[in-house]
């Protein structure tokens, strides 16, 4: 059997792309001490708003911008709930996700009755026909710009230092004159923007249209990847690639005649099983940021 390795590896990158975008956003959030379970809804909002704007304006770039703004707004909503109001982060996050998905589905039904799948302006692959390198611009940006940039920011910038301090020991950060609430808001807005970008990749690059349940748990996968990658950029990217590879492999096997006997459901579950397995092996005994889940209030 000749196995299309290049095609699987190329698909790996494509599938990993939204996970990398949203995962980077989640790293920013969690390094600041906030578990953002609004990630799934934020990606969903990015996907929908991006699609909506692109189809209305005819410009994929405008769509992407709108998705980024939507993500940032979703992040500020999380900030309002968890930073300003001190709401339990699990509740705030799940609430945000339910709210955003509900709002998007509702608008979708009103605007596109009968579920007509409007095809929109979308990004095209660069270097078409070159096999492995035929990827969307957002894929190149994710791996070659966004991930190195965040890695640099966390390591070598004042903002990164502030972020880590706020997430580890907000009392110490406060005593050092770092605005704890401001830093957390900034983290949520930036992180939300990256999550929105990840969502928009699905509609504006991959599909060119919007379907219900388009994010289908990718946000939750990111939450697992963050723990797997111990809040570090490159391990999280590696985790995204692992998931991407498992999914690409599964898709390939589904169309490989020798595997015809394997139930499709099992194949679809395969990448998720890989993530669970990876978490069970490498996700144990991890050390969470010191102020994870804890709202900060000055005495």
């Amino acid at each position: 059997m000749d196995f299309p390795l290049i095609a699987v590896l190329a698909a790996t990158l494509t599938i990993a792309t939204p996970l990398v975008w949203a995962g980077l956003g989640a790293i920013i959030n969690e390094r600041a001490g906030i578990l953002n379970l609004g990630i799934e809804g934020t990606m969903y909002a990015g996907a929908f708003v991006g699609f909506l704007t692109a189809s209305a304006s005819g410009s994929a770039t405008l769509g992407l911008l709108a998705a980024i703004i939507a993500g940032a707004l979703a992040g500020s909503l999380m900030g309002l709930l968890t930073v300003t109001l001190g709401v339990n982060q699990h509740v705030a996050g799940i609430g945000t996700t339910l709210l955003l998905i509900g709002a998007c589905d509702f608008s979708n039904r009103i605007l596109f009755s009968a579920g007509s799948q409007a095809v929109t302006a979308k990004f095209d692959r660069l270097f078409a026909g070159t096999g492995f390198f035929a990827q969307y611009p957002m894929t190149y940006l994710a791996f070659l710009v966004a991930a190195p940039a965040l890695w640099w920011v966390l390591r070598s910038s004042g903002f990164g230092l502030r972020l880590r301090a706020v997430g580890e020991n907000p009392e110490a950060a406060d005593a050092a004159g770092i605005p704890v609430a401001g830093t957390r808001y900034t983290a949520l807005v930036l992180g939300g923007a990256l999550m929105g970008t990840g969502g928009a990749f699905l509609t504006l690059s991959l599909l060119g249209s919007f379907t219900l349940d388009i994010v289908s748990g990718r946000g939750w996968i990111c939450i697992a990847l963050i723990i797997f990658g111990r809040w570090k950029v490159w391990p999280v990217v590696a985790g995204a690639l692992l998931f991407g590879f498992a999914d690409a492999l599964q898709l390939q096997l589904a169309i490989t005649p020798q595997f015809g006997a394997v139930p499709n459901e099992l194949l679809i579950a395969f990448p998720y099983l890989v993530v669970i397995g990876a978490l069970a092996i490498w996700g144990r005994g991890v050390r969470y940021p010191g102020a994870y889940l804890v709202p900060y209030r000055r005495a």
Binding site: S156, S157, G158, F159, L161, R162, R164, A165, E168, N169, E171, A172, A173, D174, A175, A176, G177, I178, P179, G290, R298, A299
Partner: protein, 574 residues
Amino acid sequence: MSFTESRPDEVSEAPRALGVPLAELVGITKSFGALRANDSIDLAVAPGEVHALLGENGAGKSTLTRILFGLSQPDSGEILIDGRLTRIASPADARAAGIGMVTQEFSLVGTMTVTENLMLAGVGLGRISRAAARSRVLEAAARLGVTIDADAVVETLSVGERQRVEIVKALFHNCRLLILDEPTAVLVPQDVEILFDSIRRLRADGLGVIFISHKLHEVVAIADRVSILRRGRIVASLPAAGLSPRRIAALMVGAEAIIPDLAEPTEASSDPALDALSTSIGLASSDLPDAATDAPARSSGPVPAPAQTAPAQPAPAQPALRMSKLTLAGPARALLDEVSLTVRSGEIVGIAGVSGNGQTELVNVLCGVTATTSGTVHVGDADITERTVTERLAAGLGRLTEDRRGSVALSLSVAQNLVLEDLNRFRRGPFLDRRRIRAHVADLIERFDIRADPNDPIRSLSGGNMQKVLLARAIDRKPRALVASQPTRGLDVGSCEYVYSQLRALKRAGTGVLLISEDLDELLGLADRIVVIFSGRLIGEVPAHTASRQELGLLMTGHVANPVPPDERAGVTA
């Protein structure tokens, strides 16, 4: 000497510093619920003045200084800097006004390096240069005459080392007013001297310093002016010149209670206030030419000095805690190197040493926080080397660890923390017997004079009160062996004496106590014999009644006259 004059008078009689004060607090009031932590406090610090702030645990010292540093907002009152009304809403404002602070509980980010921690204050958003900051850190440390490893991750440092980092941090950003909230609580005498030298140097440059300490002899040594807080109010503010530790203690505790006995400290006294006093004075070493100082700390309590009266006990008591060849491998060298030591029932064995020489590791190994590389630990006859923390507690091990905040559940209440280790005792069927818990907690709070409500979250307690909670919890279980690490760190004079009397009572009841302390006077006063730890090894032992500070000081810095070969060490200590 008379202490009967009303103290508020002394506030007005005290001459004002000339010129404009660097910082002036006017009418600062701060309440936590019904509790007035600060009650219209006035305080001024002049340039070049070291202003000591004294008071019992919970008197409101930290609260006041936290307000000045912008960590907390007063309910009412004003702050003037250089005579100008200044709003200090955050530490950034405070730093901009030239105020630096070392808080009582560390404010360092454990997962970051020393350099990164020092960079935090005032760091912008853009590119940072670790190399430049690193050399500035080393420079600042050198200027103060201390050495710190700029690349060490803070959580790997001992408490004493962290304290050093805190002090360097405060001075790293050029401040004009430095607030030090119990900076010496964990420092060994040598380091205190280094710190004082730095403070004197900075004072000569016109720096103002607010200095909080419970060690009265330190206050006498360094302060220009002394203000005393009691229950949120300033009860006295006077120049330090000519003040004796005894006089200060009298003002702190409330003179009324102690005047009668003060003139003639007697060993037979059973007045706790006097005990407190004489301890503090005993600790004050050379500046008081009377009986209390001539026999440092041995005259400090109602119980005669242990070492001298030890024969009263049946000769070789049972071993309570036995360490044999405990070794803990570290990345570079052994953190603990074949530590063998036996603590017998009814004996207090002191461990002296400069912080960072393996004390923390030893305590962690004994308490089951860290697994040993090799060697064994016995409590009584039970081998607890491989046991869990809970099993150790059940086997009769008690512990008081140096890191207070790490030993309590910060989000639980005082009551919950007090019974946390003994839940089985308060069980009724599958449930907890709340009534019995309440009664027990009320009893402990009363007996240990914990100034807090049972339902207060423990994180809101003053440092000293938090320590009392830990102490109550550990002592109340009547452990067979007690590992006490820095048990009086941050406690006021009266509370210190209380801890000492409790440890002595435990000893009489047959507990073997391993006392790890950086306070030599404490060791000399309490222990039967003192073992010195250096670089993870026990390098010498001296009976407490013949030990001198000089001898111990030399040993602590690794100068051994007759090094004991490792194999014989077990024999020496057994």
